[in-house]
């Protein structure tokens, strides 16, 4: 089941939560809505579900207008941020709920309900907890029960609100991989909300980066990470060094240094101020200048504890710079605090945005 959102707008009093949102989700796709709190991502998810009504705009499922359909009639599955398990019902009863409240005509017989519930619980590997109450479960287990409960009614679309937000790092990792396997297995259209970019980049087929009620960029994880469309996306995803510079006659300058880093992203260069973003692992350190794009910097701090070595420096013009190098380079360079070195960005890996 595909989703088409057109011109969605939503305000709460004076606060504009969503401003002219357009989005297409293909059938079977897994899409992440990524952004900070207040970016509107949860509101958008709830509008798709029918738990909020937009002030303007339309929601279509597989071409059919769903804007005026009630929550029940949309036949979507929704996993809440805090699971919303029915706390006085056992795990079994929770998962069976959707089947038991069906009108008599469509309700399967109790024996079929029982077998379906157990099948789902086996799918989420929780069959042995069927008689427990939610309060006796860990967070990760509750999450899986919430998922099983949603899948019981065979929804056409699965919506998840910060599904792993309140879990430990390790449990989160495991559940992420598990959800990806499940999605491959079921092939269901899936939209999830997260503020964790690692999660979005790891799980999603496409990422929708949102900010203050607007969509900043829609693209595959690779696209949004390596080819950010604007300054917000560049600084939001991954670590990044930020420099203020200016463009003159097509060339880019920071302070007095002309960096020759090429033309500004996004078309014809002109004169004016610009922001430059470089990722820490895309800067190289040398003891001597290496071409027109090298600039001097002084080492402030070195942190070798980790898969790569973190070097903090101050550029010649005063800005702080963070560089990630591998341990081999670190050994070769034998850096120490106070050393004067030269940095240069790898080819084409500087994001330049005019402001």
């Amino acid at each position: 089941m595909s989703i088409e959102l057109r011109n969605i707008r939503k305000t709460f009093g004076d606060f504009v939560a969503l401003d002219n949102i357009n989005l297409d989700v293909a059938k079977g796709e897994m899409v992440a809505l990524l952004g900070l709190s207040g970016s509107g991502k949860t509101t958008l998810l709830r509008i798709i579900a029918g738990l909020e009504t937009p002030d303007a705009g339309s929601v279509r499922f597989q071409g059919a207008d769903a804007t005026s359909l009630s929550v029940r009639d949309r036949r979507i599955g929704f996993v809440f941020q805090h699971y919303a398990l029915f706390r006085h019902m056992t795990v079994f009863e929770n998962v069976a709920f959707g089947l038991r409240v069906r009108p008599r005509s469509t309700r399967p017989p109790e024996s079929e309900i029982r077998s379906r519930v157990h099948e789902l619980l086996r799918l989420v590997q929780l069959d042995f907890l069927a008689d427990r109450l939610p309060s006796a479960l860990s967070g990760g287990q509750r999450q899986r029960v919430a998922l099983a409960r949603t899948l019981a009614v065979e929804p056409r679309i699965l919506l998840l609100d910060e599904p792993f937000g309140s879990l430990d790092a390790r449990v989160r990792q495991e559940l992420r991989q598990w959800l990806r396997r499940l999605h491959k297995q079921l092939g269901i259209t899936c939209v999830f909300v997260t503020h964790d970019q690692e999660e979005a980049l790891e799980l999603a087929d496409r990422v929708v980066v949102m900010n203050a009620g607007r969509i900043e960029q829609i693209g595959t994880p690779e696209e949004v990470y390596h080819r950010p469309a604007n300054a917000f996306v560049a600084s939001f995803l991954g670590n990044v060094n930020l420099f203020h510079g200016r463009i003159e006659d097509g060339r880019v300058f920071i302070a007095d240094t002309c960096l020759e880093v090429g033309t500004a992203n996004g078309g014809s260069p002109s004169s004016g101020k610009a922001m430059l973003y470089v990722r820490p692992h895309l800067l190289e350190i040398d003891r001597a200048p290496r071409g027109p794009r090298s600039f001097p910097a002084t080492v402030r701090n070195i942190n070798p504890a980790g898969p790569r070595v973190r070097v903090e420096l101050t550029a010649e013009w005063g800005d702080p710079v963070n560089v990630d190098i591998d341990h081999e380079s670190h050994r070769r360079l034998s850096l120490e605090p106070g050393a004067r070195v030269f940095l240069h960005p790898k080819e084409d890996q500087v994001f330049i945005y005019q402001i």
Binding site: T11, L51, E52, T53, P54, D55, G57, T67
Partner: protein
């Protein structure tokens, strides 16, 4: 394209309709009757009743007795709340439960019991008689009865605040050199003040309107030991509905002012603590 006014959870119309209908029938219509009736009385007659000496005497006694009782409950209620929250002693749980007795006990039962105890030959009254103090059938008896009915108010408004209070604030004061009394007066008490005020006002409001506990112990002597609710009852028994209505309106006005006062205190304290 539906507007944002559609609600997701069901039952709005149904519950709104039922709530308003039930509220109107049970509360609003009866309450409005009293205002219509007093309006029918005419301003001159209304004023005559309100300003009659007997009414004024009852007013004075009601206010003073209610104030005295509320003050007693403030002081002792604070002590009781502190003791229940901070100290351990045998049967603390039972004492804590018993604080709600004035809420649970019918007022006529309280009334006859307090009269029996504080009468000149009663278990407590006889000791005060030795000191020349008459409690039952005197204004002090009214104060005693009103203290009883208002007892839970201050305790129950202060208790939750005391339980939630951040002890680190008191520890900080101690490290800065304050002794326990100073810590209490400068750190703890200001935090408790809104709750104490709320409790006081609630106890006061309850005391002004109290009937059952007072009617037995007061003796109902007009101009001496008659409070406003007793005056109303007296007029009703004589079928002076006009007079009763006028005083009723007066009492309602007082109640609403006090209710407004409580709400204001709570709003003010919420703002103060949030800032």
């Amino acid at each position: 394209m539906k507007g944002a006014s559609r609600r997701v959870l069901p039952g709005f119309g149904l519950t709104l309709g039922f709530t308003i209908a039930y509220l109107s029938v049970i509360v609003l219509i009866p309450l409005s009757t009293i205002f219509f009736r007093s309006a029918a009385l005419g301003p001159a007659d209304f004023w005559a009743v309100i300003s009659a000496p007997r009414t004024l005497a009852a007013c004075r006694l009601s206010f003073m007795a209610a104030f005295a009782a509320a003050m007693i409950n403030c002081v002792f209620g604070l002590a009781v709340a502190w003791t229940l929250v901070r100290y351990e002693f045998p049967m603390r749980g039972i004492v804590d439960a018993m604080v709600d007795l004035p809420f649970a006990l019918p007022t006529s039962v309280a009334g006859i019991t307090l009269t029996a105890i504080y009468a000149s030959n009663g278990w407590i009254g006889r000791w005060f008689v030795l000191l020349g103090i008459k409690i039952a059938f005197a204004p002090l008896g009214i104060v005693a009865a009103l203290t009883f009915v208002g007892l839970p108010f201050v305790v129950r408004t202060v208790q939750p605040v005391l339980e939630e209070i951040d002890l680190e604030l008191e520890e900080a004061a101690t490290t800065l050199g304050a002794n326990r009394l100073q810590t209490f007066a400068r750190v703890t008490l200001p935090t408790l003040m809104p709750a104490v005020l709320t409790g006081f006002t609630l106890a006061f409001a309850r005391a002004i309107g109290e009937y059952g506990s007072v009617v037995f112990i007061s003796g109902n002597l007009p101009m001496k030991t008659e409070v406003l609710p007793l005056l109303i009852m007296s007029k009703l028994e004589q079928f002076d509905y006009g007079g009763a209505t006028a005083i009723g309106v007066l009492m309602l006005a007082i109640s609403f002012v006090l209710l407004y006062g409580v709400n204001s205190i709570q709003k003010w304290s919420a703002r103060r603590l949030a800032a």
